[in-house]
Symmetry: C3
Subunit: 446 residues, 3 copies
């Protein structure tokens, strides 16, 4: 039955999508953008550095075909820093060195920025593991750029702001997010700084929560004396870092042990699949701790999650009631539409309905819930997972305050509606909402 | 007269306490919790690690009696990191080494986690000083666990959240909060990271305020090159750290110079007792600075405190007026009771009435004052004490904003009451408040 | 025409200023304060350390004339740390050492704290460049103290709070803000910690935004291994620091490349002057990056600024409308006056009208705009300039929320006014506002 429904639904969805003009567009150098909403944005030049495969264009200021020695000779004067980095790298020190033109090409008018595929030619294991993460879906590194471009708010917001998201999402489309050029050092990428350049702030305060933990403080105090050339295995490090736990043994597949879907949705800790993931964590933690202690920590984390989801579900229920009573103002059809919004506008509440895209152009109470779920809940989760005690407390304090606020606002909305019904107050005119902060000058900047 | 009052009051209090069922319960392994509210909570397994004397139970996975060499031989493979740490420690390098079984025992089915008493057998001076701090009352390290367990909100909140408090409060019941296992290095504990793992975030932003200071920034820039094996005395360090000032000379008695009671209450800077404490600070600061400058800094701090308490007292007066006019909503008897609440519920406003416990289940305006006093005031204080200029400014800005908010809310409460009196508005039903965010699912999780 | 207006305006302004009693007062040791509002404050003793030229008085505890060896001999015991620092300094290691009395004088009753002029005797180039920055106006290091003392709120706020501003502003009046005593190491001042002691928090989150960038994280991870004795030029450092970019080549003139006036006001990126500054940046960035990439980053920053100013101008327009309709409550003449306020009180909205001083005693909606402009906008700017992706996003999110709040409050103010006109509500009594949090106890503390 279910399968038959799909058989029917798929062509209908496709038909609607095509008729509405939303077709996944292959990326092209120059010209329009990329992804589902490619018609709605055009790439900024900087996109060439973040997504070189699709958008990089060589600057063409020098003409000629050059081999390694000549590159180095000239760039020694122009950009000595990167030459020095390369000289200190394994690429240069190899018996058969990996030289400038091996990665960038030789024709200076056609230089390329290396994509993951270029690096993968030699580093096949790492590249394969990185690609393999796609099967866990999003969030994952490998899907980071694609999913950003497929989000309606990518095309709907001023480029100047969206770029603040995309720079980090470029982790999918180039390797130097973690292995900075031109040393490309594994030792560097093992340190937490390689990760927290992106993994900080809401909704993923990995930086703040790790460094607030005993693990993080040990790193802060003593990390500069550790031998970072050692692989990430048992006995080599006094305290774990991002990579030690999430990329244990050097595995380039970060979602491999993801138990709670990063706090984004409730999971059932009693499934056999969950037990498999759990055992991976316990094995890892017992590099230093008793197995039983590791298991208890995970149970404590389950408990924290249970409390968090109780609060979230209460808030979500309030919003869904308001929606069914048509009390959300502005309603979806009174809001500035997303590019995809013209077909079917609907208030989307909660993870499964896709609220991840509902950053903008929603009513105040929906935004409150969004922040509760996406910022406060994830902050509490990361705190519990990484061992930031103050973060757990403040996260749950904030969630309790948000729940209160949402309940108060819901009551006000009902009172307002009642007053409107009695004719005491005139309803706010719809067009009011159509002129939100993001509405007037968006499209022409994308 | 006063003494006779005590003679009468004590048995009455005892009688009331017993009849209400609140008797201080001796702690027991397994079974119920500990402290005044032991009946209301049961220990989570992780409590065994935070309070080993009372709750740790050996995991019993291995049978047998082992001496040091055998322990090391086996754990070299299982947990090589902690073995490496121990090998690098003074415990191992001693002529007469302190081995695994000296601290943990030999019977693997009866292993213990070392308590402060175990460490104190050799480190009697440090342990004695640590214990001695009790005479300064709370806040102090040695009373941290006991006083947490004696706080009503310990039993009243979901365990998952309370644990975020207790993990740090375990500084009272084990030594590895500062001297991490298994190197137990004095050098490590001298560095600020040993402290700020706990001392960060509201209400004790020691981390943020120290690192915002010139002292802290000097440590950040150059601390990794300092010789941390040197004792904490004059001439050994270019800039002071937490321990240099608060544990000068290695003294394990942190409250020894506490001038302003950590900002929690107003003190009189002109008492002779205060002058004694003040001289201790000036002596310490003059390890590097002119005495007269040190004295001036302390006077500046007095001034900052005076401004802070002016703001706090204004806010407190607003609240006490509201209480005497019975305008606080919900009133104490309309709130979900604390475990101790059944006997005598009363709005507690300000430090001396015990507001430290009033985190939850209070009215909005009481919570505002609590946050002003406990978070914003203490943030301003720590900023002034540690030298974070931006923190003083933002702390006082926040306090001014809170005072405004409290005055506005008080006005609204009076208007609301008037409207209720005139019959314009029906009073909110009491039961509304009994279903707060923390009320429904607390007890069964404790 | 314009010039003639000036000819007329200048003497009028002077006449008004003199008749109102505000004349720039020369600073004097002891006695009254300094600057335009010198009559309204008296210096705290600590001011002697922050502005030694004008306020330092030797402590006079020791009598006698001493040369270098005797100074060191005695201070070796009293303050060994600073002696050790000096011994390790270039001052001591010079063939012709710079000794204690060279900077402090020899008469212990008349010791001086060295001013920039004292340091400038040997370090003429650096001192000259530092002084030269004055031609760029404020913000600049060299004018930091003077302009603080010329701000009305300096005299209007409790000293205890104002000092949190002045400590950093003392960068103008002594050199050890960056080169800490007594090593006075260039290497130390090259590290970001030398700067972020002051440059952190709103309104100048340089600390937070730099360390959130890839540049900052590289420094965090590896900076302790870099050779900081090297000058700040191409090829010497793997990642740039504050000083590398803003004081390139060691230039003590930080505003030399200031493109966007630190985000404080909108600039026109198309002027020839701006193109000159832009080329300085591109030249600097191309020490490591492609020129074309550097130029694109600057264009991206222009775009971010454009979005920011659109939001700011919208908010400013709302406030100016309210002002022209006389709907701001409290109005300027209902507020506690600034010292300069007696002559001409007026709501000052926006940068050009001088809102930088409007921290206090303004209406809620004016304060909202002030925070939007001074904290959120500058936070977004610094994030964009320093490469903190999360900061751009959160800055613009906050600005959008502020704009919403301002629009909502404006509507409420209009409704309130209408209700007052209809006689439904009595206007708030003016004296209410005259008792703000800062009004009652200011003057006697200054």
């Amino acid at each position: 039955m279910r399968y038959r429904l799909k058989l029917i639904a798929l062509p209908i969805v496709a038909l609607l999508a095509v008729s509405a003009g939303f077709v996944y567009v292959h990326w092209s150098k120059g010209g329009t953008g990329a992804g589902l909403y490619s018609r709605h944005w055009s790439p900024d030049p900087v996109q060439g550095y973040w997504d070189p495969e699709n958008f990089y264009q060589s600057t063409e200021i020098v003409e000629g075909i050059f081999e390694a020695e000549l590159c180095v000779q000239c760039h020694e004067g122009i950009t000595p820093g990167i030459v020095a980095d390369w000289r200190a790298s394994r690429h240069a020190l190899n018996i058969d060195p990996v030289s400038c033109n091996d990665c960038h090409g030789s024709d200076h008018q056609q230089l390329r920025l290396p994509t993951p595929e270029v690096c993968g030619k030699c580093h096949g294991k790492q590249h394969g593991e990185f690609q393999d993460e796609a099967r866990y879906g999003f969030p994952s590194h490998v899907l980071a750029m694609e999913r950003a471009l497929d989000a309606p708010h990518f095309a709907d917001k001023p480029k100047a702001e969206v770029q603040s998201c995309v720079q980090c999402h470029s982790v999918a489309t180039k390797c130097d997010s973690c292995h900075t050029r031109h040393r490309f050092d594994a030792a560097e990428a093992r340190r937490p700084e390689a990760c927290v350049t992106c993994h900080s702030g809401p909704p993923h305060p990995d930086d703040e929560t790790y460094f607030a933990s005993a693990h993080g403080q040990l790193y802060r105090a003593e990390g500069s004396d550790w031998d970072w050339s050692k692989p990430l295995i048992k006995g080599n490090y006094k305290a774990p870092t991002c990579a030690y736990c999430h990329m244990d043994g050097g595995r380039h597949q970060v979602a491999h042990k993801s138990l709670w879907k990063f706090g984004l949705r409730e999971i059932n800790p009693h499934t056999s699949k969950n037990q498999v993931l759990r055992k991976r964590w316990i094995k890892l933690c017992s590099d230093c701790h008793e197995e039983s202690k590791a298991a208890q920590w995970l149970t404590d984390l389950d408990q924290e999650r249970k409390q968090a989801w109780k609060k979230l579900y209460k808030a979500e229920a309030v919003l869904k009631d308001l929606r069914s009573e048509e009390l959300l103002r502005p309603a979806a059809d009174e809001r500035p539409p997303y590019p995809m919004g013209s077909l079917w506008q609907r208030e989307r509440i909660g993870f499964f309905e896709g609220q991840a895209s509902a950053f903008y152009n929603v009513s105040a109470i929906e935004r409150d819930y969004f922040e509760m779920w996406y910022f406060e809940n994830l902050g509490a989760y990361k705190s519990a997972a990484h061992g930031s005690m103050a973060g757990i407390k403040s996260g749950h304090d904030k969630m309790a305050a948000s729940l209160d606020r949402i309940e108060t606002k819901a009551k006000e909305l009902r009172n307002l509606f009642e007053a409107e019904q009695k004719g005491e107050i005139a309803p706010a005119p719809s067009e009011l909402w159509m002129k939100g902060a993001y509405t007037d000058y968006n499209r022409d900047h994308n």
